[in-house]
Symmetry: none
Subunit: 268 residues, 2 copies
Amino acid sequence: MADASPSSLRRALALLDALASDEAVAQGGWGVNRLAAQQGRDQSQVSRTLRVFADAGFVERDAESMAYRVGWRVFALAARAGDQRLLAAGAPIIRRLVERDLGERIHLTVLQGAEVLTILTETPPHAVQTVAWAGRLVPAHNTSSGRALLMDLERDELERRFTGVVFGVGGPNAPRDLDELYQRILVARRAGYAIVDEEFEPGLVAAAAPVRDFRGGVVAALNVSAPTFRLGERLPFAARAIKAAAEELSKQLGYDGLRPRSLAGRSA
Amino acid sequence: MADASPSSLRRALALLDALASDEAVAQGGWGVNRLAAQQGRDQSQVSRTLRVFADAGFVERDAESMAYRVGWRVFALAARAGDQRLLAAGAPIIRRLVERDLGERIHLTVLQGAEVLTILTETPPHAVQTVAWAGRLVPAHNTSSGRALLMDLERDELERRFTGVVFGVGGPNAPRDLDELYQRILVARRAGYAIVDEEFEPGLVAAAAPVRDFRGGVVAALNVSAPTFRLGERLPFAARAIKAAAEELSKQLGYDGLRPRSLAGRSA
DNA sequence: ATCCCTATTGCATCTGACGCATCGATATGC
DNA sequence: GCATATCGATGCGTCAGATGCAATAGGGAT
């Protein structure tokens, strides 16, 4: 991180991120001033930068409110960014988990550095749709998905990936250091699934299992999470259901079930 | 378009575009040299620019081939801004359908369990009754929107979703059981749109088509509904118009029109 | 009318993007 | 084995262009 790579490009990209923030989305986009203030930059430059983005279709502007929001080109690019096979094969499996097996919110996630990115979510009908999880990043060290995604890593690889990451945040049982995390990963590895009890957030339990592709490496994770009072007792059952579903998805990605571990494909 | 707005940002964004080209995607991404040559730029600068993109997650690099491809952050941006865009892009399309094409009430809806939630409505000027449809829940099994939203589901998924739901209520032609519903969904799937004739309410016909996002899944539906005496004869025409509009909206959400479900692998 | 908010534009300053050259790494030929 | 080629990263001097200030212009409000 000490690479000190300034660049106007970095500042420009930060604008896109800001426009995709919950707050900005909820307000139907942000104007130049709002953005400039939030980014601590001069309005003039934000205005000029956004114009370039707008010309390229990366942002677009509401005609009357003058507010900018994420543009069509980002959506076009996104279709090329995700692993389409994972999405296509994952969708029905997730739906089945929600509807038949667990009745709780299910996520399909991938690892992104020391964080977990949700790429697909299915919510049970009764749930009050609170947060849109897709596209969201959560820590890897105190979530079940994270633990499933890290399942193949050895101690030293883990260390490298988590240098500079602050532990101990989240729920009361979150691992406080790398060793604790590694121990819990070992437990998950033996079971074939990860269980998390009030590590991410108080009152929340979760279970996750790794999804592997044809190379045998972990490429994604399936997980369920719910309040303790609803899922707590069924958690072992839920974990097994998640694991079975993850194995089915893995099979659809060409995993033959014989390679427990090889070097994972994705990089930092 | 010869607006002489140079900027390095414009050049940087062109790199993303290039990485999203069919050719680049088909080859599993492009290396620095390939990109530089294709863009007519110096390798050094492409290398540096891509590093910034990579740090921000806008591109990611294959660990062994060194090839860059569109990264997770683009996906995340699209996922988080998706709802916003659905509303923003949907509004003018709906308005146009009402004013130019059909002159009847148009709805934009999403699935909520076994029901359909209306999130946007446009009413023709001549309409008398102004029921506030937005925010309203109606059954999914006997509405055109429902049928469009369920279009991808297989028989077993449908079964799970509708356990406990009472059929046969509504209009005279409402599906009386799950099999009937599934048969009609199959018909809709083949046509690409759903038509409903006095299923929800006597004297009411409707047509709907699914809206898909960059992930390929159905995220919403467009529909028109009106009294039989006004729309009955034009219903096939209306259905085609709705379908075309839904496809346009899908395109604006990054749907490339190529993957209704599953299959979209890329080769080595 | 003034006041306040907004976004855009003119312009001088100097950051940082640029191209050239070099260097390390991996690959292919002889 | 050495030579040659390819590809990506980096050091450096130069100048395009990003930056910030200030001025401008368009709305709404009161």
